[in-house]
Assembly symmetry: none
Amino acid sequence: MSLPKPPLKQLEKSFGYTFKNRDALTQALTHRSAAAKHNERLEFLGDSVLGIIISEALFEQFPNIDEGDLSRMRATLVCGRSLAKLAQRFELGKFLVLGPGEMKSGGHRRESILADAVEALLGAMYLESDLNTCREVVLNWYSKQLAGIKPGASHKDPKTRLQEYLQGRQRALPIYEVVATQGQAHNQQFTVSCQVDGLEQPIRGTGTSRRKAEQHAATEALEQLIQQDNS
Amino acid sequence: MSLPKPPLKQLEKSFGYTFKNRDALTQALTHRSAAAKHNERLEFLGDSVLGIIISEALFEQFPNIDEGDLSRMRATLVCGRSLAKLAQRFELGKFLVLGPGEMKSGGHRRESILADAVEALLGAMYLESDLNTCREVVLNWYSKQLAGIKPGASHKDPKTRLQEYLQGRQRALPIYEVVATQGQAHNQQFTVSCQVDGLEQPIRGTGTSRRKAEQHAATEALEQLIQQDNS
């Protein structure tokens, strides 16, 4: 049913831990679509393990930062997108055990499936080791992100912030449109216009991807809106 | 500014742990209204400590129960109300350090303040001990609740349960109405009436938010309905 997989040793190397209980390792990689013995219970446990490790790390790293900022930073670090990025670093998709439907539809690339499997692996590791072992492994995954994270900076992306600002004021949602692309395949420049309820002119943003261009336009639009609404 | 408090030894006895760091103990009991060095950071940490202990306990106690039921049981055990009940068992209200405003308005009885302080104490204990020590203390608090908890039993909120009960019997849905509000902005008391198909009198509930008042009314209404329908 499943494609040939690379040896699990490869995964353990990038993950940073060698599992003693091979059955638990396999279970942690098994999506509910593939077998009755799937990874959701391990994910439940791993989620809490991740929570305490990241909470403690932030608590120690930022001795003078209040609970609100700590919570926001934690949310950024443990969100599905962050975990899916870790999964990509481990090339976890190659090792997932998926049912035929999920396999066909690209489940091994789906962020939520990847993120859940990272937590499940952490759960399986915790069961056979202890919190100290898990802490060492997890802080190693997060070393760069922890070194770069800052309290106070908004941990929501600009498009989300713009949307929430407008929704909070019962205004229409922004409309994004690509108005120009320049350059060749690997070196493109996108220009996006963002039409915002409450601003006379559409705002333009540029970037090396459509998404980045939209984020830049949203940042600028939000600044203009706030300035205008406060004046 | 504060009333004379009983010796902290009393609290430590019912809590089940003697703190080495007395400053941290005091900080864990200090609400943000009272001092700059308050308990919110410790609460942030304690929340994660509680999460992993309860998750692990449920994971082990219910080896064949799926993640959904485990999550619902965890939510029941760590919710504000459960923590506030623990706080009442510890008579925590007597030891809280509150600002003058909170003191006047009965903050030492408020569920959210009590629940937060329990988590903060747990955070302080974790910082000076380890997960094993915390686990022992916490599982002792929860021994009865863990012995009694059942997967599948309703961990739904009372309004949902009332609604489902009525729908299952083809009765009209309940009608909630705020009939009184008392107090000022940050310390309001809501009284809600809940009219239920099958009960002669509307049921009243009170709470510090409209939602809580409705939940209390729904709990009471459901109890009366079940009693009546079974008699």
